[in-house]
C-alpha cells in the first residue's frame, strides 16, 4: 500500500485506466463527439452495466491529446475523506503540485463543513493551468450525500482546466438538467452506446473469424439488443459450440434471459478446474494469481494439479473473457461488473453457503497477510465472521496508530458490531486511543475499567500492561493527580518493549514529562524531554514532535514566552516536514500565543491568522483560542472592525463544533473586547449570557478562560460587592492553578487581584500581589496581562517601580502601554519634541483644568494663588494636584513640574515664555 500526501492509504490500482481490449470496435462518431466537447464542464456517460462505457472512455483518453486522470470508485469511497483523498490522488497524477489546501483538511480530526472543503478544493483545482480530463468511473457506487454536495459545489463554478467525466449506471444526484440547459454537459446514454448492426458484425468477425455471416450478426444483435456484454458472452458461448446459434435463434424473451443462457454455456465450455476458478473468484472485487490460488481450499485438491492461478488468468486474458487489468504489470485484475454478477449468481446456485463463507475467510486471510486491512475486514464480515474481522483490526492497529492513521482505525472499528467491541480488550483500547486523539478524554475511564475487568481472567502481556498503565496515567492526570500519573506513565514506559508501538512510546514519554511537571518536577521533565529529543533520529518525526510539544506545553504553562516561541517554531517545522498535522497546527498556536503574551502584536497576528486559516484541521480548543487571541490582537492594534470579524468567525466555528464550551469562550471573548473598548454595559451583558460553568476548568495556557473573564468584568464594573466576589473567585482559581503548576494563569489571576485590591482602596495589598506577579512575569517576559488592564495598571506598576521593585522590567512593561492621547490643548503645549521624552513613561491624559493647575504650578504659585487665578477654591486645587500626582506618578509639586517637562506636557524651562534666567540683570 502506498501513501500519498494525506494519511489515507491509496490503492494505485484504482487510478489505473483500464486498457482498451484488443478486440474492441472503434467508434469514431462517439469518440469525435467526446473529444469536441472537452471545453464543456463535464461529460456524463450514463448506461446500465455492460454497455462498454468504460471501454469507450478509455479509448477516447488513449487517443486524446489532453492529459487525463482516471479513478475507479467503489463502495468504500462513500466516505468524504476517502473519496477526496482518491480524487486528489488522481488529480495529482496530472499535476503533482496540486492540493496545497485540501490534503491538510483531510487529516483534520473532524472534517470541516462540506462547503468549506468545496471552496478549498475549487481553489486547488483553479490553480492548475493545464487542461485535463478527470474520469470518475462507476460513480453510481457513490451514495454518500456529502460527496454529491461537494461535487455540486465544484460544478457550480467549474474549474476552467478540468473536464469532469462521470461514468455511471444511474444519473447522479447533481444539477445535470441545469448544466444541460446551459449547454455545459455532453451526454452519452444507452442508446448511443448500443452497438449498431454493422458494429456487431465487425465485433463478431474480429472474434470468431471472417466466415461470420450477416444473418448471424443480425440475430446476435437482435437477441443482445446491441449490448456489448451480451455480444462478448455470445462470442464465448459460440466458440466451439455450433449449436449455440440455432439455440439462440429459438430463444425468446428479454436480453437478460439470453444472458443467463449464455453464461451457463460459457461455463460449460470450461474445464472443471477453470470453472471452479471462475466461480470462486467471483467473490472478489479484484484479484491476483496468488489470491486465486489462496482461495483453493483443501477440498479443491482434485483441481489443484490441473491448473494454478497464473495459468487460469493467462487463459482468461487470451479469451478476452471480461477480465480488466488494474495495473500495467498485469498483477491485479477484476472482472467486468456484469460478468462478475452473472458468475456470482451461478456460484450461489452451485456452492453451499458454508463453502462460500469459507472462500471469504480465505480471501480475508490473504488480504490481511498482504496488509490490505480494509478488504480483509470486508471478507471476514462477508464470511459472517465478525470475530475474525475484529482480530484483523487487533493485529493491524499498532501499524495504523504508529503512522498517525487513527482515522482509518476508527473506520475499521465502526464496522465491528458493538457487542463484539465490548468484550475485546484490544478493540476497547483502540477506542480509547481514538477518544484521546479526538480530545474526548472524559469517556476513557469507563473503557479502561472495562478492559481491566475483562483482563482479570487473562494473563497480561507486557505491551498490553504498558498500554493500560498509560491510560490509567491519563485518567489520573486529568484528575490533577500528578503523583499517581507519574507512577503510571513511568510503568508504561518501562513495560513497553523496545522498538515496538511507537505511538504508545511517544505518547507515554510525552505524558510522563507533562505529569512530572504537574508533580512539581519541572527541571526533570525538561531535561528528560531534551534528552529524548537528542537521542532521536530526525526521521522519527512522530516521537520527536511529541517531545517538542512537551517542551512547548511546559514552557507555556510557565509563561516562558521566548523558549515557548522557539519550540513552537521547531514543532511547526517538524510537523510540515513529516506531514504531522497536529504538530504543525499546535506549532502555529504556540507561536501565536507566545507572541501575544510578549505583546508582539504583529507576530501574534501573523501566527494566529495562520492557525485561523487552518482552523478545521487544528485541535478545536486551540483553534477557538487562537481566534480569541487574534480578535484581541486586532483590538489592541486599533482595528476594531477586524476584531469583530474574527469574533464572527469564531462564532461560526463554535456552531460547527457544537461544543458548548466553545460558545462560552466566544461570548466571554466578546466581553473582554468590550472591556478593551471601555464599553462596560456590553461586557456585563456578554457575561450574563455565559452558561453555568461547572467548577474550575483545566485552564492550561489558553488565553481565553471564561472563569477568569468573569472576574475581569466584575472588577471593571467595580461595585464593592462585585470586587469582593471577584477576589474570592480569583482566590479559588489561584488555588486551582497552583495545583496544576500553572504559572501562566497564576500571573493573570494575581495581576487581576492586584487591580481589584487597588479599586477597593487597598493599595498596599495591591502592590504586594503585583510585586509577586511581576516577579513571575519577568523571567519569561510576559507583558500582555498587565497591558490588558490599561492605565490604572500602569499607574500601579509605576508605584511599584518607585519602591525600587523590578524597575527595568516595569519600564519595559510600561513601554507597551499607549502614549497619552493628545487633546488639542495638550498638543498646543507640546513644545519640546516627542522624541526627547522617554516613550516608556506614558501617562493618562490630564484634563484641561489639571493642565491649567500644572502650568501655574510651574510658575511656583501657591495653592491659594492658583485658586484665585482659576476662580476655584483652594480645596479644589488640592484635589487637582492629587490627581496630577497620581497621573504622572509623582509625590510633590517640584517633582510634578520636572516630570511634566520630561513628559513633554510642559515646555522646557528655557522655552517658557515666563522664563527668567537668574543671571538676567533685568530679573
Amino acid at each position: 500500500m502506498e501513501r500519498n500526501t494525506t494519511h489515507i492509504p491509496i490503492l494505485r490500482t484504482k487510478m489505473y485506466r483500464p486498457p482498451v481490449p484488443s478486440d474492441h470496435v472503434y467508434r469514431p462518431e462517439l469518440l469525435e463527439r467526446l473529444e469536441k466537447q472537452t471545453p464543456r464542464a463535464m461529460t456524463l456517460v450514463s448506461a446500465p452495466a455492460g454497455y462498454g462505457k468504460t471501454t469507450l472512455v478509455s479509448c477516447w483518453l488513449e487517443r486524446s491529446a489532453c492529459p487525463s486522470a482516471f479513478l475507479a470508485l467503489d463502495e468504500h469511497d462513500n466516505d468524504l475523506r476517502q473519496f477526496l483523498s482518491y480524487f486528489l490522488g488522481a488529480v495529482q497524477t496530472i499535476s503533482p503540485a496540486i492540493g496545497l489546501e485540501t490534503p491538510s483538511i483531510l487529516n483534520a480530526p473532524d472534517l470541516p463543513p462540506v462547503p468549506v472543503i468545496g471552496r478549498s478544493l475549487a481553489n486547488d483545482l483553479h490553480r492548475i493551468e493545464e487542461q485535463f480530463i478527470l474520469v470518475l468511473d462507476d460513480f453510481h457506487c457513490i451514495h454518500d450525500k456529502s460527496v454529491h454536495v461537494l461535487l455540486r459545489e465544484i460544478l457550480r463554478h467549474p474549474p476552467r482546466s478540468m473536464h469532469l467525466v462521470m461514468v455511471t449506471r444511474k444519473d447522479p444526484f447533481l444539477p445535470i438538467s441545469t448544466l444541460r440547459a446551459l449547454n455545459r454537459v455532453t451526454e452519452v446514454r444507452t442508446r448511443d452506446l448500443r452497438f449498431t448492426d454493422p458494429e456487431v458484425h465487425v465485433f463478431l468477425k474480429s472474434n470468431l473469424g471472417d466466415q461470420i455471416e450477416n444473418a448471424t450478426s443480425k440475430l446476435v444483435a437482435e437477441k443482445t439488443e446491441g449490448w456489448v456484454t451480451g455480444l462478448r458472452l455470445a462470442v464465448l458461448a459460440m466458440r466451439g459450440h455450433d449449436e449455440v446459434e440455432s439455440e439462440l435463434s429459438e430463444l425468446t424473451g428479454t436480453t437478460r434471459y439470453v444472458m443467463d443462457y449464455l453464461i451457463s454455456e460459457v461455463l460449460a465450455n470450461q474445464s472443471l478446474a477453470a470453472r471452479h476458478f471462475l466461480l470462486r473468484s467471483s467473490i472478489l472485487d479484484r484479484f491476483s494469481s496468488s489470491l486465486c490460488d489462496a482461495l483453493r481450499g483443501p477440498d479443491d485438491k482434485r483441481a489443484l494439479t490441473e491448473m494454478d492461478g497464473e495459468t487460469f488468468i493467462t487463459g482468461l486474458l487470451k479469451d478476452n473473457a471480461f477480465l480488466i487489468a488494474l495495473d500495467r504489470e498485469n498483477h491485479w485484475f477484476r472482472y467486468h461488473h456484469l460478468f462478475k454478477d452473472l458468475l456470482q449468481r451461478q456460484m450461489k446456485g452451485q456452492f453451499k453457503a458454508e463453502e462460500i463463507a469459507a472462500l471469504h475467510s480465505r480471501a480475508s486471510e490473504w488480504f490481511e497477510s498482504r496488509g490490505y486491512i480494509e478488504e480483509a475486514i470486508d471478507h471476514a464480515l462477508a464470511a459472517g465472521d465478525a470475530l475474525a474481522a475484529a482480530k484483523v483490526i487487533e493485529q493491524s492497529r499498532h501499524a495504523a496508530l504508529d503512522t498517525d492513521q487513527w482515522h482509518a482505525l476508527q473506520r475499521w472499528l465502526n464496522r465491528i458490531p458493538p457487542e463484539i467491541q465490548q468484550v475485546r480488550p484490544i478493540l476497547l483500547l483502540s477506542k480509547a486511543w481514538i477518544l484521546l486523539f479526538s480530545a474526548r478524554m472524559g469517556a476513557v475511564l469507563p473503557i479502561i475499567e472495562r478492559v481491566e475487568s475483562l483482563l482479570d481472567k487473562d494473563p497480561e502481556e507486557a505491551a498490553l500492561l504498558s498500554e493500560i498503565n498509560f491510560f490509567r496515567g491519563l485518567v489520573c492526570y486529568f484528575k490533577g493527580d500528578g503523583e499517581s500519573s507519574v507512577a503510571f506513565f513511568t510503568k508504561a514506559t518501562e513495560q513497553l518493549p523496545k522498538g515496538s508501538f511507537i505511538a504508545l512510546r511517544s505518547q507515554a514519554e510525552y505524558w510522563l514529562c507533562v505529569a512530572l511537571h504537574l508533580n512539581g518536577r519541572k527541571k526533570t521533565a525538561i531535561r528528560r524531554l531534551h534528552q529524548g529529543i537528542r537521542s532521536r533520529d530526525l526521521t522519527e518525526g512522530m516521537l520527536l514532535s511529541r517531545m517538542v510539544f512537551g517542551l512547548c506545553f511546559i514552557h507555556m504553562l510557565n509563561g516562558e514566552c521566548l523558549p515557548a516561541y522557539q519550540e513552537g517554531l521547531r514543532l511547526r517545522e517538524l510537523g510540515s516536514t513529516n506531514r504531522l498535522v497536529f504538530a504543525e497546527t499546535w506549532g502555529m498556536y504556540v507561536q501565536g500565543n507566545a507572541s501575544f503574551q510578549m505583546f508582539d502584536l504583529d507576530a501574534a497576528r501573523r501566527h494566529f491568522s495562520r492557525i485561523v486559516e487552518n482552523r478545521y484541521i487544528a485541535n478545536p480548543r486551540a483553534a477557538v483560542d487562537a481566534m480569541a487571541g487574534l480578535s484581541m490582537t486586532r483590538q489592541f492594534m486599533g482595528e476594531p472592525d477586524e476584531a469583530d470579524e474574527t469574533i464572527r468567525l469564531a462564532q461560526e466555528y463554535a456552531e460547527w463544533t457544537k461544543e458548548p464550551m466553545h460558545f462560552d469562550i466566544v461570548r466571554s471573548c466578546r466581553a473582554r473586547i468590550a472591556l478593551l473598548r471601555g464599553d462596560l454595559d456590553s461586557a456585563s451583558r456578554w457575561l450574563r449570557s455565559l452558561s453555568e460553568t461547572s467548577g474550575n476548568p483545566i485552564m492550561l495556557f489558553f488565553l481565553e478562560n471564561p472563569a477568569i473573564t468573569e472576574c475581569r468584568v466584575l472588577i471593571a464594573t467595580g461595585s464593592d460587592v462585585g470586587l469582593k466576589e471577584a477576589i474570592e473567585r480569583l482566590d479559588n482559581l489561584q488555588q486551582n492553578s497552583k495545583a496544576w503548576q500553572n504559572t501562566c494563569q497564576m500571573m493573570e489571576i494575581m495581576i487581576l487581584r492586584a487591580q481589584a485590591c487597588q479599586r477597593r482602596g487597598r493599595l498596599q495589598e495591591a502592590l504586594k500581589v503585583l510585586e509577586r506577579a511581576v516577579a513571575m512575569a519577568e523571567p519569561g517576559g510576559t507583558i500582555r496581562p498587565f497591558r490588558e488592564l490599561g492605565q490604572p495598571m500602569a499607574n500601579l506598576l509605576k508605584k511599584l517601580a518607585e519602591k525600587n521593585v523590578a524597575v527595568e522590567f516595569i519600564e519595559k512593561l510600561l513601554a507597551a502601554f499607549p502614549p497619552i492621547s493628545s487633546s488639542s490643548r495638550l498638543s498646543r503645549r507640546l513644545v519640546t519634541s516627542k522624541s526627547s521624552s522617554p516613550s516608556s513613561l506614558t501617562v493618562e491624559p490630564l484634563t484641561n483644568r489639571e493642565l491649567d493647575v500644572l502650568e501655574l504650578l510651574a510658575q511656583r504659585l501657591r495653592n491659594k494663588e492658583i485658586a484665585e487665578k482659576l476662580f476655584i477654591s483652594p480645596e479644589t486645587v488640592r484635589t487637582h494636584l492629587q490627581n496630577i500626582y497620581q497621573k504622572i506618578d509623582v509625590c510633590n509639586r517640584s517633582q510634578a513640574v520636572a516630570s511634566a517637562v520630561t513628559l513633554g506636557i510642559l515646555p522646557a524651562i528655557e522655552n517658557r515664555p515666563d522664563f527668567r534666567p537668574l543671571s538676567d540683570p533685568a530679573g
Binding site: 430463444l251 425468446t252 436480453t255 437478460r256 434471459y257 446456485g349
Partner: protein
C-alpha cells in the same frame, strides 16, 4: 376519502405493500434478491410477457433496491404503485 387516506398513509421508513410491473420475464429464483416479493409471470407467448412483483417492502430503501435490481436485470419498468389492500 377513507380509501385515499389509507393509500397515502405511507412513510419513508415504514413497510408498505407495493406492486411493480415490468416488461419481460423474471423467474422465481430471483425472489430472494428482490426483497422476497411474490413473482408472477404472465406470458404473452413464450418468454414474451410481463412480470408482476408484489408484496410487502420494508421501507423506501428496499423499494429503491428492488427497482435498481430490476434495472440491473435490464427490464423496463411499466408500473410502480402502492398496492390497494
Amino acid at each position: 376519502m377513507t380509501h385515499s387516506r389509507r393509500k397515502t398513509n405511507v412513510s419513508f421508513d415504514a413497510p408498505a405493500e407495493y406492486r411493480i410491473v415490468v416488461k419481460g420475464r423474471i423467474d422465481d429464483l430471483w425472489a430472494e434478491s428482490l426483497g422476497g416479493l411474490h413473482i408472477r409471470f404472465q406470458s404473452h407467448g413464450g418468454e414474451d410477457g410481463v412480470t408482476t412483483l408484489s408484496g410487502q417492502i420494508k421501507d423506501q430503501t428496499e423499494l429503491i433496491g428492488v427497482l435498481y435490481s430490476v434495472y440491473e436485470l435490464h427490464l423496463p419498468i411499466l408500473l410502480v404503485e402502492l398496492a390497494p389492500k
